[in-house]
């Protein structure tokens, strides 16, 4: 009953979406505002309709309706309620529907804005948003239907179908398989919604960009309208990435936060183009330049969002053959191709209208440095994109080697792995370049700057950063990549502090405000600039942590008897005891107690453990972690003697400075919130404006 209700509203939403974009199109063609309004209402309706669908699945999950295949796959009787709710995005069918639900929320929200000044954009924004939504709904209805149920034939065979096949009865399993244990972590509960919110909210700026191209209103209006949408999208995507890193660190049991896995890269790629876009739109706003490039970046971001979902949902990453086994891969592939070609043809139609009104006047101007920043972001994107698709291409091209024996040695068709060493070597110099630009660009001026003018502004932070390098050399640091990295971090941090300081000082002198108030007022008046500085500061903190763990992580592994010890650097752990027991929620838990000593001094106790989930027959390794801002001691229980528990194998990682990464993530998000926070109304500024002392004089 509830499954049928959910499915019915899903189909109705699909039909409403199709009606919406057709009505929007006809509304323009026939010049009928009534049709456009009707399309707008249709878009508004998608969210309540899909809410019924999503709530239906949640109801089925919470109440253990295991006759529904999806419910059996991702939930079980022993799971607590909150996990049953979050199981909505724990499997393929549910997560696709969740994508559509969030998309409909953003699409509905955009209809509620004031359209008085941008009426001509409305039908096209509706069309683009609803075409995207329709595509995802199509997947949910025809390929990955989350409401499909189990049916039993008279011969006892179990089959799955949405509606009861003739001669069958409903089959209700006693229990479900339960959610993958790796997904039962708080980080994983919040991480996918954040990522998906980031993904879907980038559809809105893209829709406005397409509307601008179609209508020919190619000034910066669409950028001004979508500025906050883009920042919000970027905020969610950044949050999703940071939370994903934290989840990996806590749950995956390899002592790291980022493994350059294709699934991670899939989410990282739209973030890269989104970040490049956020920087380059400023050039268009300030100087009226790069209109074509901005269009290209938002098109890329949109298609990378779809491509990211495609990579993780099509099975193409496991094998090129898995791609063809389900209709979902080819459908995604077709949709990406179609939207990309359509967007590019629209762009080419308006290419001449989008030509710059002004030109770059100096190599060191801020716009020139921003362009360089864009090159580096796109460079990292190329490395990532190529690294992700190369194994698929290499495997697919095996057919050439098979057809032409002479080329068999070149096109082997062998599946290859493109792993972290490739990405780390290729992207490290590009990231270093970005850090350097992060230090220089805020000191440059729009239109015209020279090496001399930047040097004049940068010498103080530069000098201070060199002192940091000297201090690091004095304490014995000899790794040149670390010295370079920490110098860059110090330089950027000092530039930001210096900028804050001199602007606040200037206001303090001009207005006789205390420094803190002056800083607060400044940040309030130019939130984007100061929010940007805070974001940069967050990046610096994250870089500290990344350099720490990437260059100085150490590890050891050993088997020790009870009372035995293993040492790693300053730390020694002593194996005190191990207990193995079953829990009420269907786990077998092996929990060790180890004492931690630092330089021979007892500093605490850790409890590394291994949970084995009976339902899904999957183990989960949970590290015992001693966390400080200096370092993490990350202890894993790898193995133990099953009967006596008298000896156990531990793997220990020493992760220096890793917590700066999480702190940096927090500062980063804070900065984005500052930048995206709505500014005060201009009228308010008029009322509160006073004549400064300097101008009185």
């Amino acid at each position: 009953m509830v499954a049928n209700l959910g499915y019915a509203t899903l189909v109705i939403t699909f039909l409403v979406s199709i009606y919406g974009f057709v009505a929007a199109y006809l509304g323009v063609r026939r010049n009928s505002p009534a049709l456009v309004d009707s399309a707008r209402n249709a878009m508004l309706l998608t969210f309540p309709l899909l809410s019924i669908t999503a709530l239906s699945i949640i109801y089925l999950l919470v109440n253990g309706h295991f006759e529904v295949q999806y419910v059996t796959e991702v939930s079980s009787n022993s799971m607590p309620i909150y996990l049953r709710i979050t199981a909505l995005w724990g499997g393929q069918a549910g997560s696709l529907l969740f994508w559509s639900w969030l998309m409909s929320a953003f699409a509905s929200a955009v209809t509620l804005r004031k359209w008085d000044r941008d009426r001509e954009f409305l039908p096209w924004v509706i069309l683009v948003s609803l075409v995207t939504l329709t595509f995802f709904l199509l997947l949910s209805i025809f390929v990955e239907n989350p409401f499909v149920s189990f049916w039993q034939t008279p011969t006892g065979n179990i089959t799955t179908a949405m509606f009861q096949p003739a001669g069958t009865t409903l089959f209700i399993p006693q229990d479900g398989n339960g959610l993958n244990p790796l997904l039962r972590h708080p980080g994983m509960i919040i991480h996918p919604p954040m990522l998906y919110l980031g993904f879907v909210s980038f559809v809105i700026p893209y829709a406005f960009a397409m509307a601008a191209l179609i209508t020919g209103r190619t000034d910066d209006r669409w950028i001004r309208i979508t500025r906050r949408w883009t920042l919000v999208a970027w905020l969610f995507l950044s949050l999703g990435l940071v939370l994903g890193g934290r989840w990996a660190y806590d749950v995956l049991g390899w002592g790291g936060y980022w493994g350059w896995d294709p699934v991670e890269i899939a989410a990282f790629m739209p973030w890269l183009t989104g970040t490049a876009f956020l920087h380059s739109v400023m050039i268009q706003e300030k100087r009226g330049m790069l209109k074509q490039w901005n269009m290209l970046l938002i098109i890329l971001t949109y298609d990378l969002v779809i491509f990211g979902t495609f990579l993780t949902r099509s099975g193409v990453l496991s094998s090129v053959h898995a791609f063809a086994q389900s209709a979902i891969g080819p459908l995604f592939f077709g949709f990406i191709g179609l939207t990309f070609v359509a967007s590019l043809s629209l762009l080419s139609r308006r290419w001449n209208d989008l030509k710059s009104e002004v030109e770059i006047s100096s190599w060191f101007s801020r716009e020139a440095l921003f362009l360089l920043n864009n090159l580096l972001f796109v460079g990292i994107l190329i490395v990532c994109f190529w690294g992700v698709i190369f194994p698929v291409i290499s495997e697919a091209l095996g057919i050439v080697g098979q057809s032409i024996p002479a080329l068999a040695g070149v096109f082997t068709g062998q599946k290859v792995t493109v792993g972290p060493p490739y990405y780390e070597r290729a992207t490290a110099p590009l990231f270093a370049g970005l850090l350097l630009l992060m230090g220089i660009a805020p000191l440059s001026a729009w239109k015209y700057s020279t090496f001399k003018t930047i040097g004049r502004a940068a010498w103080k932070p530069f000098g201070a950063s060199l002192l940091v390098v000297v201090a690091l050399l004095l304490v014995g640091l000899r790794s040149w990549p670390a010295l370079l990295g920490y110098w860059l971090c110090a330089f950027v941090a000092f530039v930001i502090i210096y900028e804050f300081w001199r602007n606040a000082w200037s206001r303090h002198n001009a207005r006789d405000e205390n420094l803190l108030l002056a800083l607060w007022q400044l940040a309030g008046k130019n939130r984007r600039r100061y929010g940007g500085f805070i974001i940069h500061l967050g990046v610096v903190l994250m870089a500290l942590g990344i350099i720490g763990i990437e260059l100085f992580q150490t590890e050891t592994q050993g088997t020790i008897p009870q009372g035995g010890e293993i040492s790693l650097g300053q730390y020694t752990i002593r194996f005190d005891s191990l207990s193995v027991f079953d829990t009420a929620d269907g786990r077998n838990v092996a929990r060790a107690v180890v004492s931690v000593y630092k330089d021979g001094k007892y500093v605490g106790e850790l409890h590394p453990r291994r949970d084995y989930y009976y339902e899904s027959q999957q183990p989960m390794t949970l590290a015992g972690v001693r966390s400080t801002m200096e370092d993490d001691l990350y202890v894993l229980l790898v193995d133990w003697q099953p009967l006596s528990t008298a000896a156990a194998t531990f793997k220990i990682y020493h992760n220096p400075l890793v917590n700066w990464l999480w702190l940096g993530g927090f500062v980063f998000v804070l900065g984005t919130l500052v930048a995206a926070w709505p500014a005060k109304e201009p009228e308010m500024l008029v009322a509160s404006r006073s004549v400064p002392e300097a101008s009185k004089a």
């Binding site: 209006r221 049991g253 002592g255 294709p262 710059s356 030109e359 770059i360 006047s361 190599w363 020139a368 362009l371 360089l372 090159l375 796109v378 460079g379 190329i382 190529w386 690294g387 290499s394 091209l397 040695g409 070149v410 096109f411 082997t412 062998q414 599946k415 290859v416 792995t417 493109v418 792993g419 060493p421 290729a426 590009l430 805020p442 000191l443 001026a445 729009w446 239109k447 015209y448 700057s449 003018t453 502004a457 200037s506 206001r507 001009a510 008046k525 130019n526 050891t556 592994q557 050993g558 088997t559 035995g564 390794t621 201009p682 500024l685 008029v686 404006r689 004549v691 300097a694 101008s695």
Partner: protein, 166 residues
Amino acid sequence: MKIKRYLFGIMLTLLLGLLVAGAVSAQQPTPSDDQVNAIAKQLYCPVCENIPLDVCPTTACAQWRELIRQKLADGWTEQQIKDYFVQQYGARVLGTPPPKGINWLVYLVPPVAILAGAYVLYHAFSAWKRPIQKDNLQPTTTEPPAETDPSQDEYIHRLEEEVRKR
């Protein structure tokens, strides 16, 4: 007699030492876990997707790690062990594709694309860049506007923006 006792003491110590050593070697197999992991870290699980062999929790991977230990104990070098795994399970067990055949593309395409981008950017800069008339320049440093009111600038900027919007 004293010598006999002395010799007995030495023998006993040696025997105990051997026993202890035996016990230790039973706990810490040779080669050590760290030696095995140093090689396993560079290899990828042939079964699981994108998981390095040193951290893969599956039984199959534990067996492969034991295989590395055995090969090390037999005197194989790191390269020989890696070659053995490639021969058995294909090039996918390596963290990066071996540079031969079509695999060269993985290393060549990104730098060529980035250099091409840099070249395009350089040409675009050169084409855009015009000689600047010094009189037309804005203030070129980012000195704080001590003599002006920031809120006034902001106000003018907003006014301009509002006018443009209408």
